[in-house]
C-alpha cells in the first residue's frame, strides 16, 4: 500500500520537475520582448476599449502611439488631456492640449414640437426604422427616438427622456468617444467642443428642407432664414442647404444669434439667464 503511494508521489514529482525544466528553457528561448512602456501607457489610459480613438482598443492605441513618434494627432477622447499628459510624461514627448469635447444632439423635435403623424410598430431600432421609411414624423432628418445611441453608449452618458422622446446627453459622463455618432442612422449627433465654462451654442436642427416645408411639420426646425447669419459679428455662422451651422472655432459665445432666431432652434447650454436689457432695447 505504502509502496504504491510512494511510487506515485515519486514518479509525479520527477515528471513535474522534468517538465518545469523543459518549460523554463522553452520560455527562455521564445521570450517575447515587450516594450515595458506599453503596460505603463495602458495603465494611464482609461481602459474602456471604446474605439473612440479609432483603434480596436486601448492596447492597439498604446502600441501605435509608442511606435509612431509623430502620432500626436491621435488622442484618447475618453481620458482627455489628463491621460494624454500622463502618457506624454511616460514617453518623454510633447503633447498638444486638446479642447475637451462632447456629443450634442442636433434635433429639438420633441413630441410637442414635432407631432407624430404615424405609429411605428416594427423592431425597436433606429437603424431598422430608418432603413424602412421616413420616420414617425413628417421630418425625414430628425431624431427617430428609439435610442440606438443610448444602447451603444458604454459610459451611461445618454438616457432617453420619456417626455420629449429625445436622448439626453449627460455632460459629466460623456467622453466624446463618438460611438453614438456612428450609431445614429440620421447623423444628427455631433461631437463639439465643450466650450469655456461648459458653455456652448449650436443649431439644434439637421433638416435641409425649405422653410415652408419644415414649418408644416415642426415648430422648431431651422428655416434657413439667415437672420442669425446677419446677427453674428464673427462670421461663425454659415448657411448651406437651408440649414445654419455654427463653427465652434469662430463662435465667441456672444449670444447675439439666439434671440433673433424665429423658431428658437439655436440652443445655448449652461449660460446664465439672459438679462432683461435685451428685451428693452
Amino acid at each position: 500500500m505504502t509502496s504504491t503511494l510512494l511510487y506515485t508521489i515519486l514518479s509525479l514529482s520527477i515528471l513535474g520537475g522534468l517538465l518545469a525544466v523543459i518549460l523554463y528553457f522553452v520560455a527562455q528561448k521564445f521570450k517575447v520582448q515587450e516594450d515595458s512602456r506599453i503596460e505603463q501607457v495602458l495603465e494611464a489610459l482609461p481602459g474602456a476599449n471604446c474605439g473612440g480613438c479609432g483603434f480596436a482598443g486601448c492596447r492597439a492605441f498604446a502600441e501605435y502611439y509608442i511606435n509612431n513618434p509623430d502620432s500626436s494627432s491621435f488622442i484618447c477622447p475618453v481620458g482627455g488631456n489628463e491621460a494624454m499628459m500622463h502618457i506624454a510624461q511616460i514617453l518623454g514627448r510633447e503633447v498638444k492640449e486638446q479642447v475637451p469635447k462632447l456629443a450634442v444632439l442636433r434635433c429639438n423635435g420633441s413630441c410637442q414640437n414635432l407631432p407624430r403623424i404615424n405609429t411605428y410598430n416594427g423592431s425597436l431600432s433606429c437603424a431598422v426604422a430608418a432603413s424602412l421609411y421616413g420616420g414617425q414624423t413628417g421630418c425625414s432628418y430628425g431624431c427617430l427616438g428609439m435610442g440606438d445611441c443610448v444602447k451603444v453608449c458604454q459610459f451611461n452618458a445618454m438616457v432617453m427622456d420619456p417626455l420629449t422622446c429625445l436622448p439626453v446627453i449627460l455632460e459629466d459622463k460623456c467622453t466624446s468617444c463618438g460611438a453614438c455618432v456612428k450609431a445614429c442612422p440620421r447623423n444628427i449627433l455631433e461631437i463639439r467642443p465643450k466650450g469655456p465654462k461648459n458653455r456652448r451654442i449650436y443649431v439644434a436642427c439637421a433638416n435641409k428642407d425649405k422653410g415652408a416645408v419644415i414649418r408644416k411639420v415642426c415648430t422648431v426646425g431651422c428655416l434657413g432664414c439667415q437672420l442669425c447669419l446677419k446677427a453674428c459679428p464673427f462670421e461663425a455662422i454659415t448657411i448651406a442647404d437651408n440649414l445654419a451651422t455654427i463653427d465652434p472655432g469662430k463662435c465667441r459665445l456672444c449670444r447675439k444669434c439666439t434671440p433673433v432666431c424665429p423658431v428658437g432652434c439655436i440652443t445655448e447650454i449652461n449660460f446664465p439667464p439672459k438679462k432683461q436689457e435685451i428685451g428693452n432695447e
Binding site: N118, A127, Y133, G134, S140
Partner: protein
Amino acid sequence: MSKTFSIGGIHPDDCKFSKDYPIENFPIPKRVFISMNQHLGMPAVPVVKKGDAVKVGQLIAEPAGFVSAPIHASVSGTVSDVAPYPDFLGKKVLTIVIDTAGDQWEEGIDCSPGVRHEITVTPEEIFKKISASGIVGLGGASFPTHVKLTPLEGMKPEYLILNGAECEPYLTSDYRLMIEHGQEVLIGGELMRRALGEDVNGIIGIEDNKPRAIKLMRELTSKSLQWKVVPLKKRYPQGGEKQLIDALLRRRVASFALPISTGAIVQNVGTAFAVYEAVQKNKPLISKVLTVSSSDLSVQKNYRFRVGTPIADILSLAGAMGKDGNLSPQFAKVVNGGPMMGKPVSNLEAPVMKSTSGLLLFTEEETKRKEPGECIRCARCFEACPMRLQPYLLYQLALAGRTRELEENRVFDCIECGCCLYTCPAHLPLLDQIRLARNASLKNKRKK
C-alpha cells in the same frame, strides 16, 4: 398536378376577398404627383418645366441611363411644380405635379375598346416600343422591362414565363386582369416572346387558388403551340422569380447570377398587359390595376388608376377614409403592396406608382407585433426559407455586425420574402435585421 418550388415556403391564409370585384376605372384625380423614381436604377430626368401644358401620354421625363425608364404624363393639364416631395415612405423624391384640366390625349394613342389581335411589328420595333413606353416590371420590383429583355452575351433565352402566381395574400389585381383582359395579356406575352426569339417557349404560371384564371388562360392558349398554362400550388413565395423558375423548370439560379442564366425570363402578367397596350395601342404605361382590400368586407375594390393619383384619393373613394380626411378609425395601417413584402404607407398624401399592386388596410389588432422573445433554435425559419438560408444565424450575425460571416452565409441571397419572420414562434425581428445587414453589405460591396 400543380407544380411548386422545392425549398421552404409557407402557407398563409390567402384572404382574396376582393376577387369578385370587377376592375373599375378610377376617376381622373384633380392633381397627380408623378415621382421620378418609379423604377429600379437611375431616376428619370424631367423634360418639362413649371407652367408647361401636357397631354395624356406625353413624355415628361427621360431615362437617365440604360437601367432607367421614361415617364409619361398620366393626365392632361399644366405642370404646377417640379420639386422633391415625400413619397409614401416619407422619403423625398423629385416629383412632377400636374393640375388636371380635361382629358386630352396625345395624338396617335388608340383609346378604342376593341382588342387588336394581329401583330404587325418586327421584334426590333417591339423592343423599342417597350423601352420608349416606360414599362417596368409590375410585379413589384419595377425593374425596367427592356433591360430584362435585352439579350446578354452567351445567355440564350429558352423560356418566357408569365407570372400570374400572385402568391401574396389579399392581392387580386393580376387575377382580375387575367379574367377580364386575358386576351390582351396573352398578346402582350406573345409580343415579348417574339422580341426574344421565335424558338422561345411561353409558360403561364398561375396558382391553383385561381381556377377560373387557369381555365380561361387554358382556353385562350389551346390553339397555340408555343404557350402552355401550368397550375402552381398555393404556397408563398410561389411568385418569386427564382421560386417560379424552380417550380416550372426545376432550374436553380445561382448566387449573384441573373435568372436569364437558367434560360428563363420571368415577366408579370401586368407587365404583359402593359406591353400589349404599348405596342398594339401605342399607349405608354400611365395606368395600372390595383387592389384595395382589408379584412373588413365593405372595403374591397379593384381599380385601374392613373399613375400619380394620391393614395388618400383612392382610399376615400374606396370608403376607407373618414369625413375629416383621416383614415377610418377601424383601420390603423395602410400597406403598399402585399402583406408579406409590401411596405407601410406613412404619408397618405403620397401618390401611387407604376408598380403599386395593392393598398391594404389593417386594423390595430392585425398589425400589432408581438413582444420578441428568445430564439429557441427550433429551426422553423430555416425550414421556411425558400433560399435555404439560416435566418436565425444571420440574425445573430447581423446584431453583432459581423459582415464577413454574414457574407459567408450568403446574406445577399435573401429575397426579403418574410417567411422567417412569419414562422418565428419567438416573434424575433429576423427579416428587419437581416435586411439591414444585407443592404449595408451591398453598399460596402458596391464601394469596392
